[in-house]
Amino acid sequence: MELRLTVNGEERTAEVDPRALLIEAVRDDFGLTGSHIGCLTGDCGACTMEVNGRIVKSCLELAVSAQGADIVTIEGIADNGQLTPLQEAFWSEYGFQCGYCLPGMLFAARDLLAHNAAPTEHDIRYAINGNLCRCTGYHRIVQAIAAAAEATPEHA
């Protein structure tokens, strides 16, 4: 089937199999491999992206289900290659090691900060409860998100 999407602001089309998951179409048919495939059960969150303004786990959705949707992938969150304050905070606070969970963590954190400019540690931990990380023990991720909130005065 022909799948039409707006991907990171650009209208794109691709021929996709109805059996393809959204994450598979984004990686294989649209060539954006920054979003990762982890568990394919909806547990790990590595495939998280934004669809029509809401973050979703893109392994839980058929690609054809997203027909016409406006999608933001991890490649689309930084303007012109300039890291966002959130990405900078993950970098400076060592908020990742292997980086596999990172795209999903960034989307979960971005979603939190869009709704809550001054999150508590509990808020942060709740916000990332759908994203698994096997390297950091989460501590540095929580620190990174807290640092990003503090570094973004327009959110305060």
Partner: protein, 271 residues
């Protein structure tokens, strides 16, 4: 890529959906949020001949009708959390907040899908029975309503007939207060036992349902005028029900803790 092959259908209205699924032959899977059906297909647990995607069928959204809350089958947990709520909806919101999997699952998972999946160890069935919700069903041109308490059959089974679908869940208007409590083993655990309790202005129990402890939700009979946690505990202890065991917990354990879970739900409602 999902293995095997299926025909994909994306009907664009309730009438078209009802007509379509009553005419399909062979195993049919319905996608509401997709959070169970899609991974089950990915992992080969489910191999349908037809996939009916409800997302364009106009069955989403949370609306008010005569004060009642009408939750479309494809309305998500996030939609419920965003809805204006009267007192009775508090338990439903408390339930939605506690659904595991992050904002992503709140944005994707649907109450209707969860009800139809009817996993005994899940939040939605017990909450709907506790709130005395009505399930709106359609099959071809026929429409019928069922109380949630009559909707759940054996584990992972509802009383939906072949070719029939859930179109909406109606939570009745009420000024009563409600409370929800879930006991789970860890942040990412499925519920071990849940309780949903509705109380009147005098903090007397009007309705109490347990989830997770039995293949289907258990409606607990509580003495008229019971207005303290001990009476709630006693009512749960003296209720007989078939036990539910899965990989997370034994039925005997769930039964043992059910009264504590119920009293916490009561305290949440009566606070």
């Amino acid at each position: 890529m999902i293995k095997g092959s299926f025909e994909y259908h994306a009907p664009v209205s309730l009438d078209e959906t009802a007509e379509l699924i009553s005419s399909l032959e062979g195993e049919t899977s319905m996608i509401s949020g997709g959070t169970w059906v899609v991974p089950e297909m990915t992992h080969g647990v489910r191999r349908p001949k037809h996939v009916v995607d409800l997302r364009r069928a106009g069955l989403g959204g949370v609306t008010r009708a005569n004060g009642s809350l009408v939750i479309g089958t494809t309305a998500t947990y996030a939609d419920v959390l965003d809805a204006d709520g009267d007192a009775q909806v508090e338990a439903l919101k408390a339930m939605a907040v506690g659904v595991t999997g992050g904002a992503q699952i709140h944005n994707q998972g649907t109450l209707g899908g969860s009800a139809c999946y009817a996993n005994p160890g899940s939040d939605v069935p017990g909450a709907l029975v506790g709130l005395d919700a009505t399930m709106r069903l359609a099959r071809g041109e026929a429409r019928r309503d069922l109380p949630a308490a009559d909707f759940f059959g054996e584990a992972f089974r509802t009383v939906l007939e072949p070719g029939e679908l859930l179109t909406a869940i109606v939570v009745p208007a009420s000024s009563a207060r409600s409370g929800y409590y879930k006991f789970k083993l860890s942040e990412s655990s499925w519920p071990i036992a849940t309780a949903c309790c509705v109380v009147d202005g005098d903090r007397s129990v009007m309705r109490l349902a347990l989830g997770g402890v039995s293949p289907r939700p258990v409606l607990v009979e509580v003495a008229v005028g019971a207005a303290d946690p001990d009476a709630v505990s006693e009512a749960v202890r003296s209720t007989e029900f078939e036990q539910w065991t899965d990989a997370l917990a034994a039925g005997s354990y769930r039964k043992k803790i059910a009264h504590v879970v119920a009293r916490r739900a009561y305290l949440a409602a009566a606070r």
